[in-house]
Symmetry: C2
Subunit: 341 residues, 2 copies
């Protein structure tokens, strides 16, 4: 493997100059010299050693991204958005799959940090009842003052960075209002595990909207299951075979709603006539499934690019406190709610 020394030798210059041209700085280089260097790089098939560079610079243009599970289309889409935005700005992203385990998330964070990554983006890996990151992850984050950090969950106290999220409460409210507008008064909720902030927020949006509409939320059905379609299917399949105390359901995610659609089909129900549903996220599949899902569309692309922007900002001036930022969602009406489509 050719090194920078070889390039310098071939170009008849010093190693410093090679750096200057490869990095476009910090010193200027004469056009002719630059040409010779570039030529030498080409001839040698030279590839810079990123480890050496990271060691010398004490940081690497790599963003560490941890997602809870890339089998989930929403996380896959968000991951793709983040990766796209990062790549466009010249960062490389390295992806870890936490599988919803604090241990694994912590291991990835350690790995990324030890590789001198320039920032961390953590998606939906809460483990604690207060919606914060799990103990192992939290411990690392608290120690790691100054690392650019964007989290889609609340940060542990002591960790600095920004919490980025969709406006769950408002989005959920729009969804439930829409269902009320369709004339429903018995509107249940299929929520997620209680320890997630997003779960709590969407549930709050549901509850408050119901109350505003004069419907007693406390007497409505609340069900809970994990985020995947399979679990939602298992939960609702048997249940939907008998009459239920709701005519409509607000569902925490599209992914879960897809499970409900399958379960309803298995139970012989026709949606939206027998059961109207509205969910949250706006994954692509929401537009494919029958009935097409009315859903609260998250600005996934913007969330991705905003996350990267925030990392960039924090690289420039290290985070010294926690900030929060919410992006607005918009209700996309399709057919599952009872609209003509």
């Amino acid at each position: 493997m050719a090194t920078r020394d070889d390039v310098a030798r071939l170009a008849g210059t010093s190693t410093a100059v090679v750096s200057y041209v490869l990095n476009n700085g910090p010193r200027p280089v004469a056009a002719a010299t630059r040409q010779r260097v570039l030529q030498a790089v080409e001839d040698l098939g030279y590839r810079p050693n990123a480890a050496a560079r990271a060691l010398s610079r004490r940081h690497d243009d790599v963003i560490g991204l941890v997602v809870p599970n890339f089998d989930n289309p929403y996380f896959a889409a968000l991951g793709t958005a983040i990766e796209g935005a990062a790549t466009a700005k010249g960062y490389t992203v390295i992806l870890g799959n936490a599988r919803h385990e604090d241990e694994r998330q912590a291991a990835y964070v350690e790995t990324f940090l030890s590789r001198q990554c320039c920032g961390l983006i953590l998606v939906g890996a809460a483990q604690e009842s207060d919606g914060r990151n799990g103990p192992r992850t939290s411990a690392i984050l608290k120690r790691e003052q100054g690392i650019p950090l964007v989290s889609f969950d609340p940060l542990p106290s002591g960790a600095n960075g920004t919490v980025l999220a969709p406006d769950n409460v408002t989005g959920a409210a729009a969804a439930v209002e829409h269902l009320v507008g369709h004339g429903h008064s018995r509107i249940g909720m299929l929520a997620g595990p209680e320890r997630f902030m997003a779960v709590q927020e969407r549930e709050r949006g549901w509850r408050e909207t119901l109350d505003t509409a004069g419907i007693d939320a406390a007497s409505q059905t609340v069900m809970r299951c994990r985020f995947d379609r399979y679990e939602a299917f298992d939960l609702t399949e048997g249940l939907l075979r008998s009459p239920q105390p709701f005519t409509a359901l607000f569902i925490h995610t599209d992914e879960q709603a897809i499970g409900v659609i399958h379960a309803a089909r298995a139970a012989g129900l026709t949606l939206p006539q027998d059961l109207a549903i509205v969910s949250f996220d706006g994954i692509r599949e929401a537009g494919l499934i029958t009935p097409q899902l009315t859903t609260v569309q998250q600005p996934i692309t913007q969330l991705g690019s905003r996350a990267v922007d925030l990392i960039q900002t924090q690289i420039a001036s290290r985070p010294t406190r926690r900030t929060t930022e919410q992006l607005t969602c918009r209700l996309v009406t399709r057919m599952s709610c009872g609209c003509p489509g």
Copy 2:
């Protein structure tokens, strides 16, 4: 950030000893000394600098994995399997999303290589008409002699490593035989883009089985579309509204079959009565959708762990030629083919 010097100082020993205990070798360390070192590491919250280590060792225990698209459940599952196997063996995997672009795949390969990764696993990113990797990726692979390499597509000539894949031909044959067994004689195929090896192989299995059964394959319908359910939906939705010259379809992937199921529903067809389908892959969703998919199940977990084993083998003795390895699939009969389920 504490360094190895700090640890040595606190433990009252030399930096070499710290390395010996942290790496469990290459020299033995007295139990008492080891304890002091471990204690110092703990006290300082010391985290080794992976960049420095990679620079010094000239390699890093990281496996670079490139998938074409992690929005696709099959690739997500395979990625998860690979990641799980790698983690279990002490490797870290860094994931790149090529989005089916040679440029992007090549960029990831470069990145991984420049970070001293110890091996490369490339999944389904063929770009050439012969099923091989695209020009940019191929150029890199050819130059990079000796890097442990596992590819799920054919390797460019000049590159060494092993091509790992399911036994597509045999699997496809089993699927088509099953359809013939159900009494179908007009069995079309929904294939993928022709340039992929897997596409050619599954198509061959279909063709040969038809011929063996005395059915003229050349007069059967062949359709093609990309690997996602959306494209399969778009392709077949209009089409299925009018009578078709096939009563059964062998579909290249479950993902595409899901698109067909949605399209059939939109067209008012009932599966499997109006159209029987069998597909390939065995993703989890095959068991959820209605009708449940009869499919050729790939041994996804084994493919993942085998890929990592192969990397490990090649680390021990560098690859000097190309080898091929196929894993057997098995037909899982469910309802989409016409079986009672």
